[in-house]
């Protein structure tokens, strides 16, 4: 019965209700199923919400980031990356993966992101790099490059941020153990994120490296698929 809250979460998300509402509903259902009174449930909501006020402390960086954006932070970042002559899609995304992971590891999680950087900057640059090399791209290939651009942001962020001692997840883990009488320094937890961070970079970096070959293959297949190109191909044989 106490697992009823999990069912609420699954159904709520599947029906695309607002996540905040789903979480609150799941909390109430779980509490009631666990035999707690409504008053007790409200108290836990209030207590836990106030106790976890440190999680949104990243909001304090927004005035700085907002001000810098207004003054051309993104444009400056573009000009820096533009000077690096990384010619291929794969290499460009590996570089972004690396920068994103290292920046997240020192707490700069706000530098990057899908809306701020991937859509306006990274994905177009990755597409342009492939076009420079292979000419016009098939639609599928173009979408694949976009999807991999988004993936580089996610993988870099996720496996970098846990190394930063002030990151929410690290503090959440510290808080969890404290409730159970085990006291850890954030640094102890953060350090053990490093092996996985290195593995994530190697694994996803390798896949991005192989992406260049996949793009080349797909472009060639598309060319041999069209009648004119087939003829060219026959002549070549």
């Amino acid at each position: 019965m106490t697992l009823l809250g999990i069912v609420v979460v699954i159904i709520g998300f599947a029906l695309r209700f607002n996540p905040l509402l789903v979480v609150v509903a799941a909390g109430i259902v779980t509490g009631l199923a666990g035999g707690l009174s409504m008053e007790r449930i409200l108290t836990i909501f209030g207590e836990a919400f106030v106790k976890n006020r440190y999680l949104p402390l990243f909001l304090l960086t927004l005035p700085v980031i907002g001000l810098l954006e207004r003054n051309g932070l993104k444009e400056q970042a573009l000009s820096i990356i533009g000077k690096i002559k990384a010619a291929t899609t794969g290499r460009l995304l590996i570089l972004y993966l690396f920068i994103r992971e290292v920046a997240a590891a020192v707490g700069l999680t706000a530098l990057g992101g899908h809306a701020q950087l991937v859509r306006p900057l990274i994905a177009p640059m990755a597409e342009a790099a492939a076009e420079n090399k292979f000419g016009p791209l098939p639609e599928n290939t173009r979408n694949k490059i976009k999807a991999f651009s988004a993936s580089a942001d996610n993988v870099g962020l996720f496996f970098g941020e846990d190394i930063f001692i002030a990151f929410g997840a690290v503090l959440l883990m510290k808080g969890f153990y404290e409730q159970h009488g085990i006291f850890l320094e954030p640094l102890q937890i953060a350090l053990w994120g490093i092996p996985t961070a290195i593995a994530a970079f190697i694994i996803h970096g390798t896949r991005l490296f192989l992406l260049d070959r996949a793009i080349q293959r797909e472009v060639q297949q598309a060319l041999t698929g069209s009648p004119g190109a087939k003829e060219l191909n026959n002549h070549a044989n």
Partner: protein, 317 residues
Amino acid sequence: MLISLDHIYYVLGALIAVVALLSFLDKNNPKRLLTGTFWGLYSIVFLFGTMISPVYMGVLVIAMAVIAGFGGVGTGRHEEATLEQRTAKARKLGNWLLMPALLIPAVTVFGTLGLKDFKLGGLQLLEKANLTLVSLGIACVLALVFAMLLTRDKGLQPVRESRRLFDAIGWAAVLPQMLATLGALFAAAGVGEVVAGLVSSAIPVDNRFMVVLAYGVGMALFTMVMGNAFAAFPVMAAGIGLPLIVQMHGGNAAIVASIGMLSGYCGTLMTPMAANFNIVPAALLDLPDKNGVIKAQVPTALILLTVNIFLMYFLVF
């Protein structure tokens, strides 16, 4: 003690309060009253969180969820700098623009490591128990002052820019905190024990590898269901990590937490429930396949999950 975490909360509360006020006044936001109320309620959490009785705070939290849940949090209109203005500024300021952003982690690390026992007039300068968070708060304030001097933008401009970003993030800013709250309710209702019971009956608990495997895969699966590793962690750690790996087999608690959480992140890469990482970017990038980003990530996630489980097995004991 001169500067405590509460002071930092007041600064954040004040920032959100001004954002709420600007939202109220934004006639171009059709939902300005509800949007303003949402942020207004949120600022109360930081300004008066510990003074108000938890029961009423609970009601406040649910009110926020209801406002957001029925689409009450809208986006206002923002007077953004044009591309030409931004490019001109970037050319003028150059790499100096990166400095305030880099100042935040630099000051945070300096405060955490360097000011641990620093006293001013016999008083401890920074609250020791929350050294990193207090340092982070101070770093943000210093970086803001530096950024304002650098860009010569004055007055409310940083808050206006913050509201632009607050609007872009919307109710999602509150989600991590809400998920932590769900974790507390799961703990109070004994969900961890139920999961532990189910796991114990399903696997041989005296086999170290099987326990680590169940914990790692459980974190990934539960994260896929909840859409967030933060919500999965308290349940799986209370159910398997702490009682079975740490207490029964004597594993290292820090490693159990860290690699467990990162196994959860492998789940985040594979689920549409993690909407802002997987579904939102698919929409932002105009992908015809809503799951396109997930499909690009699944192989990485599965390989990395395997690596995590072996890392945990070899490092934790």
